[in-house]
Symmetry: C2
Subunit: 525 residues, 2 copies
């Protein structure tokens, strides 16, 4: 039985009056008010705490900017907090669920227009509800020679991934860097266009990121300062040639020379894309399960790891990259890359033709690194039964020392709590997003408790070593925000000042990224 959770400080009577107002503003069929029938899809599917904790009071789905403005008026009047979602599909970080129980979900899925795709300049202008699948289909249907940059499961919202500053795997892997121009509705209903969009009749809104004056787009990323309703994204022209590759390394400690080799290749853009180093488990998990290899609870024994490596013909570490460009340039890059990694003794080199099995992960990665959205890579969650996952994602310098240290730190703590290390290093220009995928059995309260404790420890231990997370699950937003506390939390106090100026009633996404409106900030005192 699902009970309704009301937003704090809102009476049942006021809530009901607000629902009436929403009904008239956007139509009753777009106000999802039945906790039993309507709201389960707005929950965190991989709840690591009580699954009745991060739940909305209701959900509303306006059709356009005018309806969003109407909703904001009502929300301000009744002080009802709204949690805007584009797709809400990043299940590692809480999916569509709100941080503050009882927050109403502002579901933007109906705003799903692909407003423009420009092949000549390589960009798209989209609304929140457009998924990577939608945009991919549009490109295919219209034979437009542009490539997307997609996250592993391609079901996400193009805008959502960008606003959360997510990573992809092509040369355009830094989604926020490739964002150009926004339309934002502020909490009071004011509609702002950033960049050249502020100039009426302009012809460069999606060509130049800045306007005259301060560059504001960044404050609407990982934030609760506004509701973004349009976003420009740069898309990569289809390259004249493309070739994904895999380089495997046999030993745990190989991560050190591998990353040392990678740093100059990446800074010099010889490795052109946001390539990844994946540990054996996360690769094997796409085509097998833990129980096929091991019954015990503890860490996988070395012999088992060897068997997994042999069965899948992979390494302890697996570097998936890709070459893009005219053949001469691809060849030149490959020569340098192969030369460099050959210094690591255990290195073995593969192209797709060397791995004919269609299920081989290189084929999956080959599609992802070409910006083709799929769901196949999501299979890793089945490594253990009842599979859910949350991701622990610290930023690391691209050094072998840091990679090894983070790996050992995380693995040690994970094993202590009975979890396998499943990890990916996503190689950015001068840093790595180290993503530890904490896969857990959702059906076991004991396991969830352990996963929760593990995560808390990881955050603190990482912060002690100077590592901070770039993004996180709802449950850990406060804890992580508090690690960014230089000069007595100066950054958070600045965020709070902006929050109060832009959303004085605190109706937008309270608690997102640790930023609370004034009336809910009590715990800080």
């Amino acid at each position: 039985m699902n009970e309704r959770v009301l937003p704090p400080g809102v009476s049942a009577a006021a809530f009901s009056e607000a629902i009436d107002a929403f009904n008239s503003a956007i139509g009753k069929q777009w106000v999802f008010n039945d906790p039993e029938a309507d709201l389960p899809s707005y929950r965190d599917p991989y709840a690591i705490v009580d699954e009745n904790y991060f739940i909305p009071s209701a959900a509303i789905a306006p059709a356009n900017v005018e309806e969003i403005q109407a909703c904001l008026r009502i929300a301000n009047k009744f002080r009802i907090p709204l949690w805007p979602i584009s797709g809400g599909r990043n299940l590692a970080y809480g999916g569509p669920a709100p941080r503050l129980p009882g927050t109403m979900t502002l579901d933007l899925k109906r705003m799903d227009r692909i407003i423009e795709v420009n092949e000549e300049f390589g960009y798209a202008l989209v609304e929140p509800g457009v998924t990577f699948f939608d945009l991919y289909k549009y490109l295919q249907d219209n034979k437009i020679k542009l490539w997307l940059d997609v996250p592993d499961p391609g079901w996400g919202s193009v805008m959502g991934t960008t606003l959360e500053r997510g990573a992809g795997y092509t040369p355009y892997g830094d989604h926020f860097m490739m964002q150009c121009g926004m339309e934002v509705v502020l909490a009071d209903g004011e509609v702002v266009r950033t960049g050249m969009g502020a100039l009426p009749g302009n012809n460069t809104w999606q060509l130049f990121k800045h306007n005259f004056g301060p560059y504001l787009d960044g404050i609407f990323t990982q934030s609760n300062f506004g509701v973004v309703t349009k976003i420009g994204k740069w898309l990569m022209p289809e390259p004249p040639g493309y070739k994904p590759y895999l380089i495997t390394f046999d030993h745990e400690d190989d991560i050190e020379p591998v990353v040392e080799t990678l740093r100059p290749l990446k800074i010099n853009m010889v490795v052109q894309n946001a390539a990844t180093i994946r540990d054996l488990t996360v690769v094997a998990a796409l085509n097998s399960t833990r129980s096929q290899y091991h019954d015990g609870d503890g860490p996988l024994p070395e012999t088992v790891k060897k068997k997994i490596m042999a069965d899948h013909d992979i390494g302890m570490w697996n570097f998936y990259g890709a070459l893009y460009g005219p053949p001469t340039i691809m060849d030149a890059h490959w020569e340098i890359i192969k030369d460099a990694f050959s210094q690591v003794k255990s290195a073995r080199f593969f192209f797709p033709e060397d791995r004919p099995r269609e299920s081989d992960v290189l084929h999956h990665r080959g599609r992802t690194m070409a910006g083709i959205p799929t769901l196949t890579e999501f299979g890793f969650v089945n490594w253990v039964g009842g599979g859910g996952h949350i991701d622990f994602s610290p930023i690391s310098p691209t050094t072998g020392k840091d990679a090894l240290k983070q790996y050992k730190m995380v693995k040690h703590r994970a094993n202590e709590k009975g979890f396998d290390y499943m990890g990916v290093f996503i190689i950015g220009w001068r840093e790595m997003h180290h993503v530890f995928t904490l896969v857990f059995d959702r059906s076991s309260p004991e396991v969830k408790k352990n996963a929760h404790e593990l995560f808390r420890i990881l955050v603190d231990e990482a912060a002690e070593s100077g590592y901070g997370e770039y993004r996180t699950h709802l449950e850990f937003m406060d804890q992580i925000a508090e690690t960014y506390n230089w000069n007595d939390n100066a950054l958070m106090r600045l965020n709070e000042r902006l929050k109060d100026a832009l959303d004085p009633n605190g109706i937008l996404a309270p608690g997102k990224q640790g930023i609370w409106p004034q009336h809910l900030r009590k715990k800080k005192e």
Copy 2:
């Protein structure tokens, strides 16, 4: 005789009391209070209006963050506006002069530490007073194999250029894109570190641009929301090979196919750097003067242009680019580039060895595109006598049609007012910064009046066609800000809201980029 101009609303007595307070806070020798002796260097050297208009009341030069905080306390107390400058050397846009007459210059030149240069990761962390010359010398002295990206005259501040989002000419030509991590003092003295700098003991402040939560750095660019005291800049590793080139085109209308050819080359990163297309005048001006060729006042006759082209062996349009990388990759890029531009009939191709004269502009550009700071390219201001210049810098889509339209528009209006067209198209990723260098004789009030009228017309005419300027001289900040007026000036109202939240007394750089504090906002009503 220079009279002191006081800030509006500040009495002589209060001002004098404030000066005493600044004297005690930072030492009398760092308070420049004599209008006659001290202040001329803080004026706009190329004043296009009355040279006594944009002048400060005094200047102060604090030594460090603590002294900045002390200055801000005094400024808040006495409501004395401060105009922060790092170097104040972009003379095209007003140099060090403040927008609001009587604003006190906050000269950060004494904060000139190069805090860190990291060769392995390719970055520098610097204070405001560090110039490109300083940083270049540091790299040379310490044999660090990193390249700078420099503006044409290399005397500017690394931080200043970045905060104003200036352009350079190497592959790292987008200065703000290559910025990573800031320290900012807010108007109330609060010190904030952005990005990973907010995490105590972090090891990624200059490696990853973002922190957990909103990305804030952008709001401190082209803005008056804070005083930036440290900035991280990514530097390019010295490439294994480098070769600048020049491609000339003979006809005015060639700009159309040239830009059409360029767009895909640039979007595909075959042209790797922020290359430029320069008209014949701006090239010839480095090694000759107008009077050598023509006595008359009107536009240069075609015969004269032909003579200039022949004498300098240049084209009507001159494309300066460079190849970077291992020889195979440079060769591959050059083959594509040469092939593409060969479609334009008048194209001629040159490497430095084809132009042995040391004074040839290709040698100058060759240094600039390799990040070597010089002053030689500043010679163009001597094209006419009494040379001053201001730059008109609209953003243009990278299309031939737009390039030709902007060129014709600007040239027509320039000629009408008796000026030559001297222009550069700086080629960004998907747009061009079209910079029309309006060179004028500073000694003639008549000429200055014409230049002023011309600029006003250009701004309006550009806006009518959907073009907006990315940056401008003090005198035109309001006019240009007002062209970014979509939805009843929503962007400016958002800027003003941020301004009021971060600097309620309005002491930081009133009027910069058209953003005024509340008490000076009257004209908007």
